[in-house]
Subunit: 193 residues, 2 copies
DNA sequence: AAATCGAACAAAATAACAAAATGGTCGAAT
DNA sequence: ATTCGACCATTTTGTTATTTTGTTCGATTT
C-alpha cells in the first residue's frame, strides 16, 4: 500500500474515534492533527476540509455496513431468511457503532447539507434493498405484498422507530428478543391462521 | 359555570394557541396575560406558575384525545376493528394537533422533568390500551400473539417511527393509505397464506 | 372572599465586546 | 510529495452590563 494511502487511513481511523466521542463540531482539526502527530496544515494535504474528513469517515463506515449486509444476504437462502438477516445485521451494526451513531444524530439537528445528503443516500439504499428482498419473495410465491414501495418504506420507517432505543440499549439479549418478536409480526401478522 | 372556571378556561385556550405557535419557552406570561386582557400577576390567581399552565393545556388536550379514542373503540365491534380504530384515531388527532405536537417535541429536548413525566404517563396509557385490545383479540381467538407486552411495545414503537412524518405531512389522503398498508401488514404479515 | 392590579425583586435571557480558538491558505523547507 | 510554521478571517468563548421574564406581595376594587 502506498505511503499516501497509509497516512490517509491513519487520519481517518483517528478521526473516526474522535468524532464518535465528541461529535463533528467538538472535534477540532488540531485535535486530529495532534493525535496523528502532524501539523494541522498537513491534514489539508490529504483532505480538502473538515467536512470531507467527516464525510470520508461516514462513507467508509457505511461501505463496511453495506458489505456486511451483502455477505449476510448472500449467506441466506430464502427471502424470509434474507429479510431476517437484513434487519438483524443492520441493527447489530448500529449497536456496534452506537457512539458514532449518537454523535451523528446530535449533529444532524443542525442542518449541514452534506449530512442530509449522506442520510438521504443511505435511506435510498435501505429502501432499494428491502424492496429487492420483498420482490424476490413475491416472485418466489412466499410473500404477499399489496404495494411494494409502500411496504418497503413502512418496514424501514418502523425499524427507525426502534433505532434509537436499540442503539443505546445495554441489554443486547433483550434487543435480540425484541427483533425476533418484531420479525414474527412482520412475517405472520397477529391474526390467527 | 362559575366565573372562576370561565376565566381559567379562557386562559387555557389562549395559552394553547400561543404555546402551539411559539412553544413553551418563547411564550411569555406577559403574552398570555395581554391576550386575555389581564395583568401578568393576575394569572397567578389561577395557576401556580408557567409550568402548570402548560401542564394543564397538555393534560386537557390529552384527555380530549383519550376520550376521542374511547369513543372510537366503543363503536368498534371486533378486536381487529378496535386496533384499526385506535391507530387511525390516534394519528388523526396527532395531525390535528400538529402545531402543538411539533412545539412539544422541540422543547422536549431540553429536559424539563415535568415534560418527561407527561410523556411517560401517555406512553403507559398507550401500551395499556394496545395490550388490552390484543388481549381481547387473543381471548376471542382471532389474534395469535407470542408475547403480549413485547408485541404491544413493538406496535407503539413502530407507530412512533411514523409519528413525525405523518404529523407534518400535507397529503392527508396519502397518510391514510400508508396507515392502511401498515395495518394490513400488522394483521396479516407479509408471508403468503 | 374573590379578582385585579402595579410595584418590586431575583433569576434568567440578551447584548455588547474583548480575548481566545478554529478552519483554512500559502510559501518555504525537506 | 510531505511537512510545517506563520498568518488571516471567522467563529466561538468568556465576561460584564443591561434588559426581560417569572414570581411574590400588599393594596385596592368588585
Amino acid at each position: 500500500m502506498k505511503k499516501h494511502q497509509l497516512a490517509e487511513q491513519r487520519i481517518l481511523e483517528t478521526a473516526q474515534t474522535l468524532f464518535s466521542r465528541f461529535g463533528f463540531k467538538k472535534t477540532t482539526m488540531d485535535d486530529i492533527a495532534r493525535a496523528v502527530f502532524k501539523a494541522k496544515s498537513s491534514l489539508y494535504h490529504y483532505f480538502k476540509n473538515k467536512e470531507q474528513i467527516y464525510q470520508a469517515v461516514v462513507e467508509k463506515e457505511s461501505r463496511a455496513v453495506k458489505e456486511e449486509i451483502r455477505r449476510a444476504l448472500a449467506a441466506a437462502d430464502s427471502p424470509v431468511a434474507k429479510l431476517e438477516a437484513y434487519v438483524k445485521t443492520r441493527m447489530r451494526a448500529l449497536h456496534r457503532l452506537a457512539n458514532f451513531y449518537q454523535a451523528f444524530r446530535e449533529e444532524y439537528l443542525e442542518s449541514y447539507s452534506f449530512i442530509q445528503k449522506l442520510r438521504q443516500d443511505y435511506d435510498r439504499y435501505e429502501i432499494e434493498t428491502v424492496k429487492a428482498i420483498l420482490a424476490e419473495g413475491v416472485a418466489a410465491g412466499v410473500f404477499s405484498v399489496r404495494d411494494l414501495d409502500l411496504t418497503a418504506v413502512a418496514i424501514i420507517t418502523a425499524m427507525k422507530g426502534f433505532e434509537y432505543p436499540w442503539a443505546v440499549a445495554s441489554d443486547i439479549a433483550r434487543v435480540e428478543r425484541d427483533i425476533d418478536i418484531l420479525l414474527h409480526v412482520l412475517f405472520y401478522g397477529i391474526t390467527k391462521r
